[in-house]
């Protein structure tokens, strides 16, 4: 190969490189320039957005172009001759020389001189070698390219945010601002709690309102040509909404707050935006809780129930209602049921005993009602009632006050008796003596008035005095009556002093009065002693319980932190010791002695010291974690304390043998009652069994009323129910607070009229009359008259419903029983209405009339049922006589034995308890037993069962009263276990109110429910096999 060829080849390669490089730079410069321009445009023009086509299409096109140019340029250098031509063009001095040389070399020339050709060729080759490499650049593409890269880099670095924004949020310009999207709809689904049905509206911009939680759905049919639809919500960046194939757009959201939105349509021709759609949130009101009536705030007796009536209103319904009781260091929430059907507006009447509230030992507490509505979206709205604050009356203080009055009464009665005894009536009437007697007579009269007043005071105090039972109340009522009798008699004696002729009668009456006054004074003295005995027993029980708790604390100490245990133990122990001390002091006081006299002071101090010492030892044992020792010491302490209590009782007993005996009798009394209860229950069961047996043998003994009778009964019952319900509604409508306020306003008004004066006498009289009525009405409301009426109504209603049910089921005997109860409630209601409803209100609730009318109607049913019962009874008796049944006689004998037990006890305890209400009650029980016995002897099983049940009820009542009298005061044991519901636990242990578990089920039934159910079942005449099975089941149930 010739050198020229070599040179050209080399030259051609260099040229190729230069061309590739230049084309690349040119490409870079142009792409860079494009991007710089693009970015700058995007940055400067607001509506210009960066997008993928802009970013990629043009640069790719440029790349392709430059690639083609590059290839073309390379194609231009496809052979040496082309390179030569390119060189010649580049260097005019070489024009044609290179190609000529090539021609020579390729033999294409005509020149034949080889040498010359050689030389020429060599020259050209040498010249070509000396030619500068490459092509001269006409423009500085490298600088252009670099500058373009730099500019772009700067733009990206400096405006990256803006550029990214421009890329992701392309701005569209929607020129038209009143775009009308007429095709479509808005549907609002209100939330479930509102129970408002959903609604669909035309798609017109404007204002809409809905409750929080509503679902709002927009359905939009897009106009022709629309490409995209954007949603702008509350002025935020519009978002594109997805579109269906049919050019429809659906948008749904949950409304929780006020929202404004508009749609933006991207359209080639008709782009623009709609007017805003304003969606406003309607307000869900919080529940309104208003106290309608309540136990007056301030002092509250621990034995009184806390009554509160609240009215609750909510727009969509209350989900939960609670009474919140708060006291220092504690809170309790008591759920109150919300009626299912009337969640939006209802009245809740509540009654709690303090023991239900489980308060700690606290001097005061507050209560308010809290209702939560059913709004789950932005709720629940919580509404609260006004807070009621109560101070608990100290039961001890109340009791002491009571006893103080009782002592004053005794004092008065003694002086009155003294006046009578001091009256010296000579054998024959003498003026001076009679005059003196008259003066003393006046003093007796005054004493009796005062005694009566004090007794009344005691009666009013009974309600608020703990530990004083209904028995005592009965005693006081009777006592007041007796004083009144004595007072009347004294008044009758007055004229006798002026007539010598009546002297004999005066003497007679005077002696009678003496006996009467003696009786009154002695009776009261005994009652005072009984109270003192009971008080001691009660304190004793209380202390025992507290000691039990201490023991329990030690027994359950495994799970407790030692520090906590010690702290708690010490606190409890201090309480116990303090109580013990107080108990001793009180006992001394009862005996009217000073502590020193009552107990040997040295011995008492020694005992105290020993107890303190023991306490110290127990604390040490606890500290050392020696639980066994602590328990042992505790036991020792308990024994010591019991020993001390015993000796104290002994001391009391020694001082008063009467009291000792009385205490003993009381214990025996309780034992007797327990025994009577057990026996009587068995007797009742046996009588029932005999009745069943007889009925079974007779092949059924169920009398049936005629259909016509049944229909009548039903009608009557419905009528009664209606009447009482209406009465109840009328009573509920009285809002006592409002009423009181109203009455007060009226009173003030009337008073003002009176003060102004200048009114005619007749008018003044009328005003005074009106004021009296107002006063009575106020008093009626203040004394819970309305409550009592409402109670009677409610109970009547309850019994009515029960009776209706029994009648429907054909349970005649149960209907009769319930009917009698209903009758007693109605009569009670009538009495309450008669006694306490003041003149001014008479026409309003018409309670008395309602009760009376209902009673009259009820009588019809009762008479008819009684007739049926007698019919059954007759039938059974005849059968028993015919079949020579003897069982009833044995039962009668057993009944007689029980009566004998009572009589024996009465004889035994006559001296210490005679005249006390306890004794009278025992007499009542005995009388009921005698009636049962009579019925049994007469083969009247139905009647016998009834009297037996009556007896049982009476025994139960008496037991309850005795227990109540001997139980510690309701709120004092509570401090012991920091809010532990001790009272309740004890109550649950009481067989009288214990819940019954139904075998094989989870349900619990109260004793009454259960008794009713069982009786109902047992009275049914069931087929043999089935009957047996059923009986077995119930026997199992009864065994519990």
């Amino acid at each position: 190969m010739h050198q020229l060829h070599q040179s050209l080849s080399r030259y051609g390669r260099r040229l190729m490189l230069a061309r590739v490089w230049r084309t690349t730079l040119q490409w870079l410069a142009s792409v860079g320039a494009y991007y710089a321009l693009y970015f700058l445009t995007a940055l400067t023009v607001k509506s210009f957005s960066i997008n993928w086509p802009g970013l990629l299409y043009v640069p790719i096109a440029l790349t392709v172009v430059f690639a083609a140019v590059g290839l073309y340029r390379l194609w231009q250098l496809r052979n040496r001759r082309e390179v030569a031509r390119r060189l010649e063009a580049l260097h005019p001095a070489m024009a044609l020389r290179i190609r000529s040389a090539l021609d020579f070399l390729e033999g294409k020339s005509d020149e034949s001189d080889g040498q010359m050709q050689q030389a020429y060729t060599n020259d050209v080759a040498a010249d070509v070698d000396q030619l500068p490499h490459g092509e001269p650049a006409r423009r500085p593409w490298a600088a252009y390219g670099g500058a373009a890269v730099l500019v772009n880099t700067l733009l990206i670095v400096l405006f990256s945010g803006a550029l990214i924004d421009k890329f992701y949020n392309p701005s569209i310009s929607f020129g038209q601002t009143h775009l009308d999207l007429s095709e479509g709809s808005i549907t609002i689904f209100e939330p479930e709690y509102t129970q408002i049905p959903g609604r669909t509206l035309p798609l017109k911009p404007g204002s809409f309102s809905a409750y929080p939680g509503s679902r709002v759905r927009f359905m939009i049919d897009l106009p022709e040509g629309a490409r995209r639809l954007f949603l702008e919500k509350d002025g935020e960046k519009p978002t594109e909404l997805p579109m269906t194939e049919t050019n429809q757009v659906a948008h749904e959201f949950v409304l929780v707050q006020d929202t404004a939105l508009k749609f933006l349509v991207d359209d080639a021709q008709n782009g623009g935006q709609t007017q805003p759609y304003q969606l406003k949130v309607k307000q869900d009101h919080i529940p309104e809780v208003v106290l309608r009536s309540h136990t007056p705030e301030g002092l509250l007796n621990v034995l009184d129930p806390l009554i509160a009536e609240v009215e609750i209103k909510d727009d969509f319904g209350v989900k939960m209602l609670e009474a919140v009781v708060t006291w220092e260091g504690g809170e309790k929430r008591i759920p109150i049921s919300v009626p299912l059907e009337r969640k939006n507006h209802f009245i809740a009447r509540n009654q709690w005993y303090l023991s239900d509230l489980d308060l700690d030992k606290t001097p005061s507490f507050s209560i308010y009602f809290e209702a939560r509505d059913n709004n789950p979206i932005n709720g629940p709205g919580i509404g609260r009632s006004r807070e009621l604050t109560y101070e608990l009356e100290s039961p001890e203080r109340k009791y002491d006050e009571f006893m103080e009055i009782a002592r004053r009464l005794l004092d008065t009665m003694t002086h009155t008796l003294g006046d009578n005894l001091d009256t010296n009536l000579p054998p024959r009437p003498e003026e001076v003596a009679l005059r003196e007697a008259k003066i003393l007579g006046q003093s007796i009269q005054q004493g009796l008035y005062r005694g009566s007043e004090l007794t009344n005071l005691l009666i009013t105090k009974v309600r608020e005095t703990p530990n004083i039972t209904r028995l005592d109340q009965n005693f006081l009522y009777k006592y007041r009556n007796n004083i009144s009798k004595a007072s009347r008699m004294r008044a009758e004696m007055d004229p006798f002093y002026n007539h010598y002729s009546a002297f004999e009668r005066l003497e007679q009456n005077h002696r009678l009065e003496e006996t009467r006054l003696e009786g009154l004074t002695y009776e009261l003295l005994l009652q005072l002693k009984i109270w003192a005995v009971l008080e001691l027993e009660r304190q004793n029980n209380e202390l025992e319980q507290n000691l039990d708790q201490l023991q329990q604390l030690l027994d359950n100490s495994e799970n407790m932190d030692q520090q906590e245990l010690m702290k708690m133990f010490e606190k409890l122990m201090n309480d116990v010791l303090k109580e013990f001390q107080e108990m001793m002091e009180k006992a001394a006081q009862q005996m009217d002695m000073s502590m020193e006299e009552f107990m040997n002071m040295d011995a008492a101090n020694f005992q105290q010291d020993q107890m303190q010492e023991l306490k110290k030892k127990i604390m040490e044992a606890l500290k050392a974690g020696d639980m066994d020792k602590a328990k042992r010491l505790m036991e020792q302490m308990r024994q010591q304390m019991q020993g001390a209590m015993n000796s104290m009782q002994q001391a009391m007993g020694e001082m008063s043998p009467e009291m000792r005996e009385m205490m003993q009798q009381m214990r025996e009394f309780m034992g007797l009652l327990r025994e009577l209860k057990t026996q009587q229950e068995k007797l009742e069961g046996d009588t029932q069994a005999l009745r069943r047996d007889m009925d079974g043998k007779m092949g059924g003994n169920q009398a049936q009323p005629s259909q016509q009778q049944q229909a009548e009964h039903k009608k009557i019952m419905e009528n009664i129910h209606k009447k009482i319900s209406e009465l109840y509604n009328r009573l509920v409508d009285f809002n006592t607070e409002d009423l009181l306020q109203e009455l007060d306003t009226q009173r003030v008004d009337l008073e003002r009229q009176l003060e102004q004066g200048g009114i005619p006498e007749r008018r003044e009289h009328a005003i005074r009359q009106e004021m009296r009525v107002l006063h009575q009405t106020t008093k009626f409301i203040e004394q819970n008259g309305l409550d009592r009426l409402q109670n009677a109504t409610l109970r009547s209603l309850e019994q009515t419903e029960k009776m209706q049910e029994y009648l429907d089921q054909g349970e005649l005997m149960l209907s009769l029983e319930t009917g009698l109860k209903l009758d007693s409630f109605l009569s009670r209601g009538e009495n309450v209405a008669h006694r306490s409803v003041p003149e001014g209100m008479k026409d309003d609730p018409k309670a008395r009339e309602t009760f009376s009318e209902s009673r009259n109607e009820l009588m019809e049913i009762l008479d008819s049922l009684r007739g049926l019962r007698n019919q059954m009874e007759r039938k059974r008796r005849n059968f028993m006589q015919q079949s020579g049944e003897q069982g009833q006689e044995q039962l009668a004998q057993r009944q007689a034995d029980l009566q004998e037990m009572i009589q024996k006890f009465q004889e035994q305890a006559q001296e210490s308890l005679e005249g006390s209400p306890l004794f009278q009650k025992l007499g009542d029980i005995e009388r009921a037993m005698r009636s049962a016995q009579g019925k049994l002897n007469n083969s009247q099983l139905e009647g016998a069962v009834q009297y037996e049940q009556d007896t049982l009820q009476k025994i139960g009542e008496l037991m309850e009263q005795l227990q109540q009298a001997q139980q510690p005061t309701p709120n004092s044991p509570m401090p012991m276990m920091g809010g532990m519901p001790m009272q309740r636990e004890r109550m649950q242990g009481d067989p009288l109110i214990k819940d019954f578990y139904i075998p094989d089920s989870q349900k619990k039934a109260s004793r009454d429910e259960m008794k009713d159910a069982i009786r109902k079942q047992l009275q049914k005449n069931l087929p043999d096999a089935y009957g047996k099975e059923i009986r077995k089941y119930y026997e199992k149930l009864m065994d519990q």
Binding site: T414, L417, G418, L421, E518, T521, Y522, M655, S656, P657
Partner: protein
């Protein structure tokens, strides 16, 4: 356990010792009648020693041995001390050469009997009690004596011609206004009846409380209260409880006279008089120092005896042992007194009162009462007893229904200034309702009315219950009805002279009626039961006219002052 075993053992030894003639040997005039061979003693001693070795330690054995070795001497000294012959006991002790502690103890005891409590206390102080532990009786006695000595050494002494009265300074000093005269009178009378002339002065101690009296008498409080043993003749002296610590007081002149009879009899008979004789004679003569014609039984004892005769239920003399005070019930104690007093009455009736002296002085010389009676009456005791029963049946003793059975006494922890109205015990309350009503009225000062209520409890023909009576008297006093008061008391109180309360009521009533002599008589009588009741003296003063009886008034003023004094107690025996 061990101690009680040892005590029993020692008791055996003591019994053995006394039975084998130690007692007999104590009689100074007659050598002991030895009934057993003297050689038997060492043998038994060896046997004891062998037996004791296994159970006692060295020291105990030594002490026991010492006691055993000297049991005869100890027995002798003890017997002399019991016979109230301290001088002879001193001589016996000097010859006995007892171990040191025993010697010291007996010396102390002798000084105690001589009334030299300082010395006694000093000796007792030196005794190691552990050495006496071998004998439970001696150890107990040591305790009791040392405690009484410690207390008594600080007592004040008041000397009369024949008596040395020891008393605690304080209210008990009031007794000195009456006690010396009575004692001297008693001394004179009994010196005549019993032909008794004292050697040393007779010590009389007034115990300020029952604790100290318990030590002196070795009786428990219960025993004292049940049997009414409120005075004693013990340890060569007469001991009486101060009436201020006995509820309602007691008729102390007769009681001290009773004890003085015991003193004389013990001295005369060298403690050989059997219990029935001792008590019978003491009971028979207790009132005769003042009223020679006094009924030896009195209504209470007569009733008790009448009941016993009626039921033919006599106590044997063995049943009365070892002491009337140890009888289980007050009724039995009363019957024992009644029986023995009646027996003595029988003796005196069949012979004469002189026979008592005869028996007493014969006793030391004869084996027992049997032989004395045989010599003097010609019959043995059993026959005598039968004869007495036959005699007693002819006496027509009658039951006094109005008398309440003896119920013992009530000892007090505090001084009883006056008798309060206590709760009425159930059994005696016949009209409880009216009593309660009366009380209610009385509390409220409605005296007239209260009285009418109390009157309703009165059952015709029956005596009014004491508590009701007291209430009625209070009412009457406030209503100022002295005549009624006198009438009521006279109708309802039987042993008036033993009832200071009633006497004071009477005194007051008489005073209200301006019957000063009668008032003074009643009030002075009251001092013989309870001289610590200030009201007595206040009323008594009113019976005197300040000018005429200036000395008397001053005396009473001093007495009242004394009554207000606090007892001066010995620190060591603070009770």
């Amino acid at each position: 356990m061990k101690n009680s075993w040892i005590n029993n053992f020692i008791l055996c030894i003591a019994v053995f010792g006394f039975c084998t003639g130690a007692v007999g040997s104590a009689l100074a005039d007659e050598p002991p009648a030895k009934t057993e061979d003297a050689s038997a003693v060492p043998n038994r001693r060896e046997a004891f020693e062998a037996a004791l070795k296994s159970v006692l330690d060295e020291e105990q054995r030594k002490a026991l041995q010492a006691a055993f070795d000297h049991s005869e001497s100890i027995g002798e000294v003890l017997t002399l001390l019991r016979a109230l012959r301290p001088d002879e006991a001193t001589r016996a002790l000097e010859q006995a050469d007892l171990p040191k502690d025993f010697d010291l103890f007996f010396q102390g005891w002798i000084f105690h009997q001589l009334g030299n409590y300082d010395k006694a206390h000093e000796f007792f102080g030196q005794v190691d009690k552990a050495a006496l532990e071998v004998d439970g009786y001696l150890a107990n006695r040591y305790d009791e004596l040392s405690k009484t000595a410690a207390a008594l050494k600080d007592f004040d002494v008041f000397e009369t011609s024949n008596f040395s009265i020891r008393y605690q300074d304080g209210p008990d000093k009031v007794l000195l206004a009456f006690l010396p005269d009575i004692l001297e009178q008693v001394y004179r009378e009994y010196a005549r009846i019993f032909q008794f002339n004292r050697g040393e002065k007779i010590i009389v101690e007034v115990m300020p409380d029952y604790q100290l009296f318990s030590y002196a008498s070795a009786l428990t409080k219960d025993q004292i209260e049940t049997t009414g043993t409120i005075a004693l003749c013990v340890e060569n002296r007469l001991v009486m409880m101060t009436p201020r610590r006995v509820a309602r007081g007691y008729y102390w002149p007769d009681v001290i006279a009773h004890e003085y009879v015991h003193y004389i009899l013990t001295k005369h008979s060298r403690d050989k008089a059997p219990l029935w004789f001792q008590e019978g004679v003491a009971k028979y003569f207790e009132s005769k120092w003042e009223r020679p014609d006094a009924d030896p039984l009195g209504a209470l004892l007569e009733t008790s005896l009448a009941n016993a005769i009626e039921a033919d239920r006599f106590l044997t003399v063995e049943q009365m042992m070892p002491s009337f005070a140890a009888l289980p019930t007050a009724e039995l104690a009363t019957q024992a007194y009644a029986q023995t007093a009646s027996m003595v009455d029988y003796l005196c009736q069949t012979k004469s009162e002189d026979i008592i002296y005869q028996i007493a002085v014969d006793l030391p010389h004869k084996e027992d009462i049997d032989s004395v009676l045989a010599a003097l009456l010609g019959v043995k005791f059993t026959t005598f007893e039968q004869n007495w029963k036959a005699w007693a049946r002819t006496r027509n003793y009658r039951v006094h229904n109005e008398i309440n059975p003896f119920e013992g006494v009530t000892l007090l922890d505090e001084d009883a200034s006056s008798e309060g109205i206590a709760e009425i015990d159930r059994e005696n309350d016949k009209g409880r309702k009216h009593t309660r009503l009366g009380d209610l009225l009385l509390e409220r000062n409605r005296y007239q009315a209260a009285l009418r209520e109390y009157q309703k409890t009165v059952v015709a023909g029956e005596k009014i219950h004491r508590q009701i009576l007291l209430r009625m008297l209070r009412c009457l006093r406030h209503l100022n009805r002295p005549r009624d008061t006198i009438e009521l008391i006279e109708q309802n109180v039987i042993a008036l002279h033993e009832d200071a309360t009633m006497l004071v009521h009477l005194g007051r009533a008489h005073l209200a009626l301006d019957e000063k002599a009668a008032a003074a008589a009643n009030l002075r009588a009251a001092t013989r039961v309870n001289p610590f009741y200030p009201e007595i003296f206040r009323l008594l003063m009113q019976t005197y006219s300040a000018d005429e009886n200036k000395a008397e008034v001053q005396k009473i003023e001093r007495l009242l002052e004394t009554l207000n004094k606090k007892p001066v107690e010995n620190k060591e025996t603070k009770t």
